[in-house]
Amino acid sequence: MTVNDIVKSLPLTVVAGGDGLGAEVTGGYVSDLLSNVMGHAAAGNIWVTMQGHQNIVAVASLAGLAAVIVAGGAVPERETVAKAESEGIVLLTTALPSFAVVGLLYQSGVKGQ
């Protein structure tokens, strides 16, 4: 399953990094604690968070994540969008709360790790 498959079936908006939509999604991770994500998310994961700081792009880049979903209607900061674009990180937003997004991801076949 690619990031694009997920974007097409879930209420997600592509905010930046559209060039990476073809990336394969290996699984999912959800946490708002960045140090936890760095330690536990696996490469190729799609990450659900409410953080909008540019640090999420750095974490996604370090961990080799397929995409980041900023959930709960949180708005990524301007620097975050610019960094995601320049670093080639797929940045998605949704009004759905994290729990609902993760539920939908599971239903569409994305499992933990």
Binding site: L33, L34, S35, N36, Q51, H53, Q54, N55, V57, A58, V59, S61, L62, E79, K83, E87
Partner: protein, 187 residues
């Protein structure tokens, strides 16, 4: 980060990497202003204005092994999430002062964490460093300075197991006194 103590370790590490021989760590809790301030001042090599403005960018780092540095960017994020801010003052050749301010009562503010273990770790790992730790709660404060300890200890090194055991007990007792004998938020 789960605890502010981890940010403190990061900040002092930055000072050491900037070649500091003197580091002052101050933690100031002020209930009337509802602030918790972590201030680290050093006499390291300092930064020019252009560098200072770039250090909050996670894709800027002095590290050569990878191109992402999250120490200061993570502190910047955590302060802003808690109604606070991060301030950095620096002068080339003189040193740097970093001040992280949190709204004390903010629900998302991480706990301070184990300050006793953190201060002990910093002292043991850097026995040559002139390190001053000051913790102030609503005007009451205590200070530990490695320079003073060294002069009292004479020949005995700061890293001697007996000294460390004493230091741990002393710090723990002083921390308890600061909170008026009340239990610390981490206990």
């Amino acid at each position: 980060m789960r605890e502010l103590a981890l940010h403190i370790l990061d900040l002092v590490q930055n000072s050491l990497e900037a070649g500091a021989s003197h580091v002052l760590l101050a933690i100031i809790e002020d209930s009337s202003a509802d602030t918790l301030t972590i201030r680290v001042s050093d006499n390291g090599r300092g930064m020019d204005d252009a560098t200072r403005r770039r250090v909050l960018d996670p894709f800027v780092t002095t590290r050569k092994t990878r191109r992402v540095g999250l120490g200061l960017p993570l502190i910047d994020m955590s302060t802003r999430q808690c109604g606070g801010y991060l301030r950095i003052d620096s002068k080339v050749g003189e040193g740097t002062e970093v001040e992280a301010v949190y709204r004390h009562s903010h629900l998302d503010r991480p706990p301070l964490g184990d300050l006793v273990a953190t201060v002990k770790t910093l002292i043991v790992a850097n026995p040559e460093l002139d390190f001053v730790y000051r913790h102030e709660v609503d005007g009451t404060a205590f200070t530990v300075a490695t320079g003073e300890l060294t002069s009292i200890l004479g020949e005995m090194p700061l890293t001697h197991p007996d000294v460390l055991a004493w230091l741990g007990e002393y710090l723990a007792a002083e921390e308890v006194k600061l909170y008026g004998g009340a239990k610390h938020e981490n206990d």
